[in-house]
Symmetry: C3
């Protein structure tokens, strides 16, 4: 069987990181599928999905690393043409990615003890974000 | 149902980025599956798949970021041993990745407004590239 | 059909890279599925899965690039709070990722000639690692 759900999230803009694990787990608990995979797909070019431990220090370390990969203060051709201030956001999203696939069993995500599913906002202003969640059971 | 397709692409070598969205969409339109996920897998160790906005400035910003992560002019042990000039290409591909999973509904990719599927060539010469496309519906 | 397997690996700690391709191929050969996708999910926040050519120079070049992205000698807020020495390991894992999806046909992984599936250990000490392997055929 295959089920598709659409989840909506609101971010506070740059450097906001949302823990969306409970939202995903909640949909799975009410799914018709007992075991399978959930594919998450974020419809965005200036934010990303990843898995990380939910510890404030790690979240800041992750933010600092993304700043090093594509600094907000860097020079971006996108910026020179469009002046919307998010050249670095596009680069970060393209490198980190927007899709994840996670197994579940007995309607429970098979995450490691410390793994949390996060949506990392890289854009410079608050955004509404849509995650397509597809369950293959 | 499950369908497997093989798509072939030709790149012009280093820094070429192909927009393959229409090719993927076209196969889905003629698939037996109405709704599902498409898994893309690039059979390569010196190029990658990702999703990005198709804007010339962003593509150059992305190229610059990959150059920062693994500079062409850097020193690579692979290069010292094999002299094929693509040590940086292997590193970039290993970091960026070769697989994507994208949902579709009513035979249409569920991409965000600005999302395009791209094949980024990191190798130093023109290459033929194969993408395995698997539809799970 | 859908099958779930659990594979266990032991790493020697930081910078160890395991080639797990044969382990995955072996499970597929004994699967009930003839064709399909295998989803791999590593239950960890301080190590990653990726695909790379298995050549000693490339492995070292990859290690060097990860060190550049998140240096072991860098300053990490996680480290200042927890003193377990693996702030950089969390950042690397969050950036590189823990999931892969690979197609197979006639019970053989459809990998490119040089592609190998690897588990990259970023943590500072030897670890036991679990990979959930889900076959969708």
């Amino acid at each position: 069987m295959m089920e598709t759900h659409k989840l909506e999230f609101a971010t506070k803009g740059e450097n906001d990181i949302l823990n969306i694990t409970e939202h995903i787990q909640n949909v799975i608990e009410h799914s018709d599928a007992h075991d399978g995979s959930v594919n998450l797909f974020l419809q965005s070019t200036t934010s990303s999905l990843t898995i990380i431990e939910w510890e404030p220090g790690i979240l800041n370390d992750f933010r600092n690393a993304m700043e090093k990969i594509a600094a907000k203060s860097g020079i971006y051709e996108h910026e020179l043409a469009w002046h919307d201030g998010n050249g670095h956001s596009h680069v970060r999203s393209g490198i980190l990615g927007v899709s994840l696939s996670i197994p579940f069993a007995k309607r429970k995500l098979m995450l490691g003890e410390w793994q949390q599913i996060v949506l990392a906002e890289f854009d410079v202003r608050p955004r509404k974000r849509t995650v397509i969640m597809q369950i293959h059971g």
